[in-house]
Symmetry: C3
Subunit: 208 residues, 3 copies
């Protein structure tokens, strides 16, 4: 059986939720927040981007509220990180955490673009929604921690999400099967992000 | 006549609006913001949580915009605080202000959970909506003041709101009359919050 | 042919988008953000206020997502600022930039109030929606830059937007033609803002 659009969105969304919840919980525990702070950051990073997307495309209540699996997965993941011995937690800035983050970004960029397309949003809007889904949770995390969002100051991050989402939109236009478009978009985002990290790629700044 | 769900939500919402508007205005005046800043913080703290809730459950335009009594009450309360002589304003960190804040938190947690249930949101989602309604205004206040939201760094605050909202949801499941469930949920939230303040309860941090 | 409500909103919204995108891009380039950061700030300042308005009045997906002209204009404007030689960029705090900003504020306050009225929002709510449309993008910019929003700490800014929006609402009540009401509201906002800048007007602070 060929995977349907809804199932591609669901799998990408739920996997991204676990990945981003783990990342949020690790950032919170590195900051010595209490159990609730860890849970909040896990939920915000994991559910924030999808909630912004759903509110913007009019899919309310957002999946993260309507479907108990989203908050339950985020909570559970936060709890697992909480009880992990410190030695097993990933170092902030380490390459495993960066890989996890790139995976979550790619999954959400794909899920966001597919879901926006499925609600009749146009191509440019859908690509932007993919980007917002990917970076929204991280931006909310940085706002809560009162720091300038990382995406504003460094690296190819949101650009990778936008590129991946654009590939998804283009594949749909070319009538490529949904699952193939999702894999292609995800790989473009993931590859771009990892390459940017590996080789220190940055976008140019304005002339000074 | 038995109080209806709509009237319970309305009374809790409007009372919470006054309480939180007063708190926001006092925080703003302690920071020496001008009249507009005081009005903005009064409105943000009083209306922010409910607006986030209404947007998330698809009840748009939110009550705070559709129903003139919400912004009018917040404005009026801000104005009253503005003209108060300094001696009558509550000290930030003082126990009267903390009591007011706990009351607003409880009222909004109850109203948020009831309203979400009434729109068909499931039990876990409704409890989360109660928490968001209670803490949303305070988080927006802290974001505007460019500081890490208090709920992330200390005390049992959002946890109390979540517990109160969960009691409301559980009472509904057990077919307890609406008003009783609201009172029970409110008391649980209020009691937990005050006890946490009184005895310095905190959630555990992650192992270091 | 008499201009219709929809065309007044569209013209004010699109012009405001260009003006605010230019302002956001200039602020970002003054902070030495990279190309993506410049694009993000251009989009956030230009589209943020309208998106908040559209979400709150239930006009989802917001125009900024449904109508490709909005993000395209914001991108294009950001790109133009990016390739400008530094000598041609406007100095932050300079009077040309302040004039542009006042123009964007007035255009958005008018568009926001008109659109809210057209969706059946009441008078007080519509005036508040005009203010939110005008100041929303700037507040999101300041949140992303992790600083206290300028509107909270100084000057008559949001007050000017609220006054302009209130004029639009009052004109509608008095059955003044839409275009005239829009011009009157815009001039009130623009004049108030420039006068406040020129003469250093501020709202009173609370008694100390």
């Amino acid at each position: 059986m060929r995977p349907t659009l809804a199932s591609v969105v669901l799998v990408a969304d739920l996997t991204g939720t676990v990945v981003f919840a783990a990342e949020g919980a690790m950032v919170a525990s590195a900051r010595h927040l209490d159990l609730f702070g860890i849970m909040v950051l896990a939920c915000v990073v994991a559910l924030g981007g999808g909630m912004i997307r759903d509110v913007l495309i009019g899919a309310v209540p957002p999946s993260a509220i309507r479907d108990w699996r989203y908050p339950a997965l985020a909570f559970l993941t936060g709890l697992v990180v909480f009880v992990l011995p410190p030695a097993l937690r990933l170092a902030p800035g380490g390459s495993v955490l960066a890989g996890l983050d790139a995976a979550g970004l790619s999954l959400f960029a794909v899920a966001g673009a597919e879901k926006a397309l499925s609600r009749g949003v146009g191509p440019l809007g859908a690509a932007l929604m993919g980007m917002v889904t990917g970076v929204g949770g991280g931006v909310m995390r940085d706002l809560l921690l009162a720091r300038v969002p990382l995406i504003l100051v460094s690296d190819i991050y949101a650009t990778a999400a936008l590129a991946g989402a654009a590939v998804v939109v283009a594949c749909r236009r070319l009538a490529v099967p949904v699952a193939w478009g999702a894999v292609a978009g995800g790989l473009v985002c993931f590859g771009l992000r990892l390459a940017a990290l590996r080789y220190g790629w940055n976008l140019p700044g304005a002339a000074r």
